[in-house]
Subunit: 348 residues, 2 copies
Amino acid sequence: MAEEKRRRRPTLALVAREAGVSIGTASNILGGKEELHSPETVARVQSVARHLGYRPNRLARSLVSRKSHTVGVLMEPVHAIFTRNPYAAAVLDGLLLRLGEKGYHIKLISLDRHDPKSLWAQIDDGSIDGAVVIAPLIDSPLLEWYHHTNLPCVVVGAELPDSYGLYCIEADNAQGIGMLVDHLVELGHRRIGMILGPKQQYSRYHREQAFRQTLHARGLKVREEWMVEGSYTVQSGYEAMQRLLMQKELPTALVASNDNMAVGAVEACRQANIPIPERLSIVGFDDAPSASIVSPSLTTIHVPLSEIGSHAVDALLEQLTSGVPKRGTYRVPVELIIRESTAPPYVK
Amino acid sequence: MAEEKRRRRPTLALVAREAGVSIGTASNILGGKEELHSPETVARVQSVARHLGYRPNRLARSLVSRKSHTVGVLMEPVHAIFTRNPYAAAVLDGLLLRLGEKGYHIKLISLDRHDPKSLWAQIDDGSIDGAVVIAPLIDSPLLEWYHHTNLPCVVVGAELPDSYGLYCIEADNAQGIGMLVDHLVELGHRRIGMILGPKQQYSRYHREQAFRQTLHARGLKVREEWMVEGSYTVQSGYEAMQRLLMQKELPTALVASNDNMAVGAVEACRQANIPIPERLSIVGFDDAPSASIVSPSLTTIHVPLSEIGSHAVDALLEQLTSGVPKRGTYRVPVELIIRESTAPPYVK
DNA sequence: ATGAAAGCGCTAACAT
DNA sequence: ATGTTAGCGCTTTCAT
């Protein structure tokens, strides 16, 4: 009995008793409202707390205050593989940094495909004040958000239709793809292909559409046999390139929808003895760390991913404090980074 | 008043009242002890809960049960940058996967250097049942662990002295370095240098020591001017290589303490027009994604990082259920991966 | 099989 | 300036 008491961590009640004050007083002092009490009491309580090694129980605190000071980061299982997903990793960097500054804690939630029914019970269980959703997929059960919960939420890496009523932060895909195509056109390319992203990703469509429009605007024709599909992984880029290489006619330049796939494509070309950029120019998107490491290094679009993470935090905390849901889309300006993987088209 | 009630999420009490049962009964049924009650009651309660959209409050549940079903992942701020730290990213992958399988949630905690006093208050606040510490640094306040808390804990990516009394999981550095050196020696190299990790990392010393011992065992001399230091980043490897290149005499092979630095070293050589591996063989450690992407691809040591993450979870959960603290070290077997960055030494 | 009641550790009115 | 009280939403005896 007495032993059990000893094992348990000291509580507010214990501190109060030892310091000879009421539990409310102790709560005030240890909860940062010291100005309500006399200096002596404050000192005594703090000293007792220190000696006892008192640490407030966050759960109890959150239960009554209805604030967990924790935000959830929701990821599709596909994305919860940071080694293969520089995108999610970079966004997480930004989230972590800003959330830490603001004194918030972070809970990582990888959606469980096995049991989508318990999805909302897992997310909205009182343990988080709000959520950041990373690149939700098109059929994602997550997107029924407002049917199930009114937890504040911010979406990163996908531009959702307005009807979802969520605030989205996404790279300006149209601007980025436009810059890439223009760069290639200026080099003299007129035969340009594309490796598309997977059909479940919103970004795929925005990037594809921008590609088609820009080509059109430049008076170039979109050749459907040069539009191949990948899944945003290195391996898929490799395979897409192999498929492309089986065509009778080849483009002189290729836009990969992200850097991962561009890296895979470069490797496929290397194995097929097609020199990059002499025979084929290849560009990527995102400016992942690998883009500057591969050889040739990739011309790509720099997306300030970790700033996007910080921005997401700011937008979310703003909702938390104001109580007003935010909606709409913030398209983040991007930048063209010219490296070694692009050159004028080969002339026989 | 009534409005406020409406806004709030339904509680157990509400479900119980609507179903015409006591709160205890509802708790049993919704908490998985349905066998204690009659089928009709069970059905009724479940149905009411569903219609009301009831979701249990995890905080309240954890408060009374003293289990949060959440594991904390503690990282030094240096590591909390996943884009630059494939090591932490890969371990996190493994943690995330296994923790998800086990129904545990995960809280990411990046140590705050600004306020080390509140460190334990942040960690041991009732919100986690145990912790995984990723690659703690040598002077880390974290290592006073058992003075401050008896939270179960597992250390990954560092082999701590026994005195800390913590269970550590780390790649078999001695084996790995031995394999690398042996590989180089077999190729004919006798002049081998090393890029060391930073002094704050435990792994630096284990890798350095293994290097010195293996060279010694092979009858080779360690040339101190070929032992240069980096900080496990690509940039630091680049700079370390530049310093090395200023020596009058150069080694014919170089062991970089991790892949990041090997990548940086390769880049420095490229700029200095030193062909790899013809003029200099370079090896890395970890088998990070970049190792197979750079050109030439890196001969390196494969460390099953995500398995290490899973293993860490298993070890931690074992402690959680058994209540018995685990200690000692598990040295994970590693594997030599031979790629393009190594070749026999150049002969004039 | 079910209900009543105690309390997890804390905050926030409200009194004094 | 300090004490008292009523919960936060849930689990868990202990009765019935």
